[in-house]
């Protein structure tokens, strides 16, 4: 199943068939006629045909529906909001977070805690950053508000763990430095839309 098919939520334009339900017969003769008609119409064999067709589809035409879950996974939507990830700058490898604190401020369940200080270059440095995933409701506001696309929602939805702390430290969420080349640009919540250039207008300074 491709991502396109998966993302199609536009149910209104799909083909629906309205069943032609006639009224139940009233007289005994009409009832008998209905029974006779249904008996000899072969509708039951249509049902048998459907099942055997599906079996052939599944076995020989590669339309088996089963996803062997732990071994293979369905694609998830880019807008899926799973465990957060902290991204790095591709050029320098430094983390993107500038320590502005907007995510901490906007978090409606108060689960983000961060401490910052100035480093030797007078640049904001994040010294402490944790997300309490016992409280987090995965609303996506932090990713939306982040001006640097530093905190994003990743695709990691298997979050069963013995300790909540396994996910929640800055180092755990940060892209490992050796996997920097594999870092995916985030196109979900709060990301720049594909047609962003068209939407840019000059700032009206005339007033």
């Amino acid at each position: 199943m491709g991502l396109e098919q998966f993302k199609n939520r536009n149910v209104g334009t799909q083909e629906y068939k309205v069943l032609d339900l006639q009224e139940s017969p009233k007289t005994p003769m009409a009832k008998f006629a209905q029974v006779a008609k249904r008996t000899f119409k072969g509708e039951l064999f249509v049902g048998l045909g459907v099942t055997v067709r599906e079996m052939i589809n599944a076995l020989f035409r590669g339309q088996m529906h089963t996803v062997k879950y732990p071994l293979e996974k369905l694609p998830i939507s880019p807008r899926y909001r799973a465990i957060h990830e902290m991204l790095r700058l591709l050029e320098s490898g430094h983390y993107r977070c500038i320590g502005c604190g907007l995510c901490e401020k906007i978090c409606i369940s108060n689960c983000i805690t961060m401490e910052t200080r100035y480093d030797e270059n007078q640049r904001k440095e994040v010294s402490e950053y944790t997300i309490n995933f016992g409280r987090c409701i995965f609303c996506g506001y932090c990713a939306e508000v982040c001006p640097e696309l530093a905190i994003v929602h990743g695709p990691r939805y298997e979050t069963a763990s013995e300790q909540r702390a396994s996910f929640s430290l800055f180092e755990d969420m940060l892209t490992p430095i050796d996997k920097l080349s594999l870092q995916q640009e985030y196109d979900g919540f709060g990301a720049v839309s594909p047609n962003a250039d068209e939407n840019i207008k000059k700032t009206p300074l005339a007033y």
């Binding site: 029974v35 039951l44 049902g47 048998l48 055997v52 599906e54 079996m55 599944a58 339309q63 089963t66």
Partner: protein, 346 residues
């Protein structure tokens, strides 16, 4: 008659041969019943575009072993207020009658054990464990007696779902048994014998001599009644989960439940063999294909048909079953018998 000479040519059937045959039937049909559960799960899964069991062994084949181990080692519970004796006897009735019924049908081809095997060498093992001259009546009667299993089980277990299951057993039994008997009556009239061997001989003239061409109505009726007899899906009122939990089997666990299951699958095989022998030419050679392969094909087809129908059709309500059996199938069966009689007279 030619048939009698044919039978006389065969070696003498000894008690040892019959005993070996009985053990063979018991062992092989039990194994096939286990394998049937695997087939059922696999076929149903494919028809719903699922995979079915895949993880235990190659293609999930060892799932049967896993299920068997589970059934044997499960705790055996007898409910507190149940009638313990009847509760324990009921599954034995189902399994035993299913296998006793198989004594009257030709199951595998006959063979003689080679001479070099000690003790049993030279023993002739017949294809039919007990060639009684009322074979078909015996088989049908034995399968009908098997319905005491669900009936007693449902009533003994002090559970309302069990009681409903038992009540449904009674109405189902009363409904389809008439149709089974009457639908088989017409081919019996044509052959003039109740022995399944005679049925087989009567259809030895090739494809066109199969009784399905002379008795299509009886074939369809027998098939419908057979589905009811084996509790297969359009008529699985006894244990339909959505309505009565598990019906008569609600309180059963472990091997007692497994015996109901083996009985059900053995009954499916019996009905398949009966339908093949009575209507589809039995184990006669078909062109260059040997007879024993043909009957395997036919039995496999009917077994597959039962799974196929289960995947495709919804099941009926009890009142619909009674309506179908008494108001539709039984009159058709009677008319079929009368018409057959008139045609034979004229």
């Amino acid at each position: 008659m030619e048939t009698t000479t044919l039978i006389e040519q065969l070696p003498e059937v000894t008690a040892a041969g019959v005993a070996i045959k009985a053990i063979l039937i018991l062992a092989i049909i039990s194994a096939v019943a286990g394998f049937g559960t695997y087939l059922e799960r696999k076929v149903l899964a494919f028809m719903q575009r699922r995979l079915g069991p895949t993880h235990v062994g190659p293609y999930g084949l060892l799932q049967i072993a896993a299920d068997g181990i589970k059934l044997f080692t499960k705790e055996d519970i007898v409910p507190q207020h149940a009638n313990a004796l009847i509760f324990k006897v009921a599954p034995v009735i189902t399994a035993a009658t299913a296998f006793i019924a198989l004594a009257g049908v030709p199951v595998f081809p006959d063979f003689t054990i080679p001479e070099f095997i000690p003790v049993l060498g030279g023993t002739f093992v017949p294809s039919i464990a007990s060639d009684v001259n009322v074979g078909i009546l015996f088989v049908i009667g034995m399968m009908a007696a098997g319905l005491y299993g669900p009936l007693l089980a449902g009533m003994a277990q002090a559970n309302k779902w069990g009681i409903i299951g038992a009540a449904r057993t009674a109405i189902q039994f009363l409904s389809y048994e008439v149709v089974t008997g009457l639908s088989l009556l017409a081919p019996i009239m044509l052959v003039g014998s109740l022995s399944l061997i005679d049925f087989n001989e009567a259809q030895s003239g090739g494809f066109t001599s199969w009784f399905i061409w002379q008795q299509p109505v009886a074939f369809v009726l027998f098939l419908i009644a057979g589905f009811a007899e084996t509790n297969r899906t359009p008529f699985d009122l006894l244990e339909h989960e959505a309505e009565v939990i598990s019906g008569y089997a609600t309180e059963y666990s472990g091997m007692r439940w497994g015996m109901f299951f083996i009985g059900e699958y053995a009954n499916m095989i019996t009905i398949s063999i009966l339908a093949a022998v009575v209507f589809l030419g039995g184990y006669n050679d078909f062109g260059f294909i040997a007879g024993w392969i043909m009957i395997l094909f036919k039995v496999a087809f009917f077994f597959f048909l039962m799974l196929w129908v289960r995947a495709a059709w919804p099941h009926v309500r009890p009142d619909q079953l009674m309506w179908l059996c008494w108001k539709v199938l039984m009159p058709i069966a009677v008319i079929n018998v009368v018409v057959t009689g008139i045609v034979m007279m004229v």
